[in-house]
Structures are given as C-alpha cells and as structure tokens.
C-alpha cells in the first residue's frame, strides 16, 4: 500500500464521517434554526476566506460573508440533502453573492490575488519568515498570470478547503474536469516558480 493510497483512505474515511456528521447538523438546523450555529461555526472562516479572495475590500468581504449566512439561514428549509453537498450549496450562495456584488459595484479590481490581509503572519525565526515572505510574494506574482477561473479553483480548493467533488458541484462542472484543471494549474504554477 503506497503512502498515497493510505492518505486517500484516511481522507476518504474522514470525508465520509464529515458528510454524515454534516447531514445531521443540516437536518438539525432545518428542524430548529437555533441549531444553525454549528454550521455557521464550521463554515464562517472558509466562506470568509473565499470571499476575501474575491473582493478587494475587507469590509465588503465581511458584509458579504454575513449576507451569505443570512441567506443560507433563510433558504435552509428549501435545501434538499439529496441534491448537492451542503458545503457546495453554501459556496454557491457565496459565489452568487460575490457575482452580485461585482455586478452592483461594477468592480474592475482584480481579485483572487491573496490580499495583504491574507498574507500569513509567521511566528517563525526571522530568516524563515523572510523566506516565507519571499515565497508568498513570488506566489502573488505567479497568481497574477492565472486566469480568473484558475484562481477561483485555487481559492475553492485551498482557501475554502473544498474537495474536487464539492468544487465540481459549486461550479457545475464534471468532477474529472475540475480535477484535471486543478492539476494543470498546479503544474503551471510549479513551472513558473521553477523558471523564477
């Protein structure tokens, strides 16, 4: 059994547990909106990170994050667990909220580019911190060369921690396509970094 197989098994098992557990949380929240709190706690950071990557202003990101959860709470009775995973449903709301936001504000500001507020604060030693900063700056520059679709893929996979399956549900694309696009994006990033 390769390390990859073992990792896949661990990941798949934990994903199943998470989904089962999440199903219970969703059912509880549908029965009693007071139980929505658990879902909110689970997703607030991930939703915020996704939105923060897609709008230029921190305040807008906070507003939209709040909107997403209010909308989700209102719409929860209509969510059907046999459709898409709850996570994908929630991120669809977030994605639509961001799209609406851009439409309303007619923003032309580039997004998905790791805003300053998302640069990690390191408690490592100065040398490591400097290296980290350098690598993030390089990453930032590399991301600028990606098209919005690929930047969104990265945001959904790394900031929102969605699996390929969940991303495919959010974007409405086949799982295989999303997987292949993500792998190609990684290869491209790796290639650009090694060129630099």
């Amino acid at each position: 059994v390769s390390l990859g197989d073992a990792a896949s098994f661990v990941r798949a098992s934990s994903a199943e547990c998470t989904e089962a557990d999440e199903g219970d949380l969703v059912a509880a929240a549908q029965a009693d909106p007071g139980a929505f709190d658990a879902l909110y706690s689970r997703y607030v950071t991930r939703i915020y990170r996704y939105i923060r990557l897609r709008v230029s202003e921190e305040q807008d990101a906070l507003d939209l994050t709040q909107q997403v959860f209010l909308k989700a709470l209102d719409a929860l009775p209509r969510y059907h667990p046999f459709g898409i995973p709850f996570s994908a449903w929630l991120f669809r709301i977030a994605r639509n909220a961001v799209t609406d936001h851009h439409r309303r504000s007619k923003s032309s500001i580039a997004w998905d580019l790791l805003p300053e507020s998302l640069h990690p604060i390191s408690d490592a030693d100065p040398e490591t911190a400097a290296l980290s900063h350098e690598s993030f700056s390089a990453l930032h520059a590399t991301l600028e060369n990606l098209d919005p679709y690929r930047r969104e893929l990265l945001a959904l996979r790394f900031a929102s921690e969605l699996t390929v399956r969940e991303i495919s549900a959010v974007l409405g694309k086949p799982e295989a396509t999303v997987k292949s696009d993500l792998r190609r994006t990684l290869q491209r990033l790796k290639g650009q970094q090694s060129e630099d």
Binding site: S2, L3, G4, D5, A7, S8, R11, A12, P33, G34, F36, D37, Y40, V44, T45, Y48, R49, R52, L53, E58, Q59, L62, D63, T65, Q66, Q67, F69, L70, K71, L73, D74, A75, R104, L114, P115, S117, L118, H119, P120, I121, S132, S135, F136, L139, L154, A155, R157, F158, A159, E161, T163, V164, R165, L182, R183, L186, L189, K190, Q193, S194
Partner: protein, 453 residues
Amino acid sequence: VKTEAELRARYYDIVEDGADTGTVRLIETLDTAYQSGMPPASFVAETRALLRQRHAGPSRGRTVLGLALPSRARPFAGLAAVLLAAVLVTATVAYAANSILHIYHPEQPGPPPLSRLFWVPSLPPYPTVRYRTLDPARAAHESGYAVAYLHKPPLDLSTSVGVDIFPHVGWPPMVQPRLTAPRFQGLAVAIRSVVRYRGGGHTVIVLLNEPSPKAIRTRLLVLGERTIHLSNGEDAWASTDVSGSLPFIRPRFGAVQVLAWAHKQYVVSLFSDLPSARLRDMATDIAVIPPNADPRRRHFPRTWPAPLAPDRLPGRLRAVISGAATYEQRGPKLTIRYLVNFGSYSQGALYGLDKWQDVQLRIGFPPALQRHALTRAPEARFGSGAGGTGGNISFNVRGLGQQEIARLLRSGMQVRLTWSEQGKRRGQSFVVPVIAAKDCAAWDPGCQSTIPR
C-alpha cells in the same frame, strides 16, 4: 506546520501518488498562504448574534397577538434622543382625573386597536442607571421620591441591592417636537425608580414606571403579552424578552421574564432571568411608596453613598441602539421607511459620536426581495449623545403578493452600520423589525417619526 503525509492526505484528490517534493512544497505554500486569513473575532460573534436574532425573529420578542412589538419596548430602543429625555421626566400635574390606567388584555377577541395601544414597561438605557448601595425602603423614606421594591427580598437575591431614583422634572410638551408627529406628542413613560437585586448568579429588577397623563387619558396600555392572575387576586401581564437587549439581566440572548401590573397611576414591573413562577411569587411582595406630597421635601440626602459607576459591557459596543421601519405596498411599488439610531451604550455613557467618521448604513432585505441599500449617514444628525438617520427606500417587487411581502419582511431588515473611529473601520449589525404601515401603533417609534416622510 503540516507534514508531507498530512498534506498528501489533505490534498489527496489533486496530488498524484508519485508527486515530487517540489509539488508538495507548492501545495504547502498554497495551503499556508490561502488559509492564513481569519475573519475578526468580533465580526464572527456579531454575525452569530445576528443569526440568532434572525431565527428568533423580531416577532418572537414581546408580541401582542403575534405582532412584533417595537424596539421601543426594549431598554435601548425607540427614538434614542426622545426616549432618553422622555423617560427621565416626571409629572407635576395632578392625577385626580386621570388616575385610572386602562390596560389592554391581549386575550380579548377581535383585532387589537393598534392605534390606541401604548407599551409601558420601559427600562432606562443602562448607562443612565447609577445604582446606590442602599436599602430601598430607606431610600424611599429619606428621598421623598416614589420607589417600588421587594418588601422581603429572598435571601438568595440579597447579595447586592442597588437603588436608582429618577428625580421629577415635569412632563415636557415633547422633547424634540420636530422629530415627533403631533398625535404622538405628550406620550411618554417616566421612570421613577429602578431597584436591582442580585444573588446566586441571578438578577431581579423592580421597575416603577408612570405613563404620562396623555398616555393615561388616551391610550390602552400594554403591559405584557399574556394575562395572568396573581395569588392576591389581581391581574398581571407576563412577557418574555428574547431580544438579547437586556444583557445585565441575562447575557447572551437568554430569555428574560417580565411581569408587570398596574398600581394606582403606576406600572410596576419585574425583570429577571429567574422562572416566571418565581416572579409571580415576588409580585405579591412588592411595596410601592408614593412620593412625598410636598415637592420641596424630595431630595437626595448628602449622607447617601455615591452612586456606582454605570454597568458596562467590556469590549462590547452597541452601535445601533434602535431601529424601526414600516412598509407600504402600492401596486408593484414597495416603500420602506426606516429610522435607525446609533450611539454607544457600552462605555458607560453615550459617548463620542462626534469622533465617528464616514458612517455608512447598509440595509439588506430578505433575499427574495433582492434589494440592498447603502446610505451615508448625514453628519448633521450626530449629536453629543446619540445620532440617527432615516429615509425611504422604494423599489418594485413583481410577482409577490401582499401576504408574501408580509411573510418576507417578518424577519426584519438587516442593518449594518460601519464607521471609522481612531483610524480603524468598525462595524456592527442589527435586525430592525419592519411592520406594515397600516399596523402602526402609538408605541412604534418608526410610525412616530416624521423624519422619513
């Protein structure tokens, strides 16, 4: 820091088995970079509170026959400036002809006479309350002011007893007539005394209110959402406040029980986190001491201990202190008139609004209405104690009937206030109840306001 195995496990669906170290390092960089941002803790808590308010819904606060009572019924609510002043005034007029309180019985059949209703139990905003550590009976006797208190407070609530008395200054014609429609002028509730008992982690507040002569003369007073009978044979009115706006009685959105009844021209109320059955027992043990008939003999003795500092909520800023809105639908056009008051009740005073800059108000409606509004609060409305803004929002709603609109607006509108203070951008959210304009009643500050019209 995640190990390589952890990274491979986490990203099993995009990292191939044979992926080299360079790929894993890239994954590590992306993982670290993308997962470093966190929403501010205050924002997370604020949104959590907002969600709780939302699912509790304004209509689950104090209600009369299912109608959301206005925020004025809550301690921070109403037109802040008007209410603040109005609650601090007292009557100098005689009550001989106006001493009967007409109480509304929520159980009575038929639609409630909304235009005649007037909500009474009204706690003062907490920064204005400065308790003195005094025996309430002594306080009443020595000051000559009206005080209501527990005759024999239960031992478990006697750890700390505080008394605050609000001196009589007379009913004003109206504090800010410009802000109040003529038919509502002269309607006010005075606060006479607030006595707080604490012990065993619980709080009981005995409040003595006095409605204004005009309110007594012209209104049906609403004291609670259900009628109950006390063991002494008298009626009282109970309600439950889940608005979370009584943090010094029950923090964190716990339910606060309220029991109120009429006594001569007064309304006595008990507010507590204790079960309503205990409040019912206490209600028959309340002493109400009238004021000294000679106004010259009403005073605060110099020998009294100094008042304690007002209660504070560390780290908690209540920026939006009240709000009210009404809606009206004519054909496809939906008009919402709103009024939002903001200030700070967390710092012991209604402080420094003059230090706020670039105040913005974002108003969000239920998703089906697909409407958001952003407004910049006019600087002119900032005073030294409270500020506020109001306006109309009109938009077309197609395909939604009156019942659907009513259903959608039942959960209120979301108001998010943001401002700059000392170089930092801050924000806070609030749910403002929205009621049909036709259901406006005297106790609704949104209806009283003339600003949005």
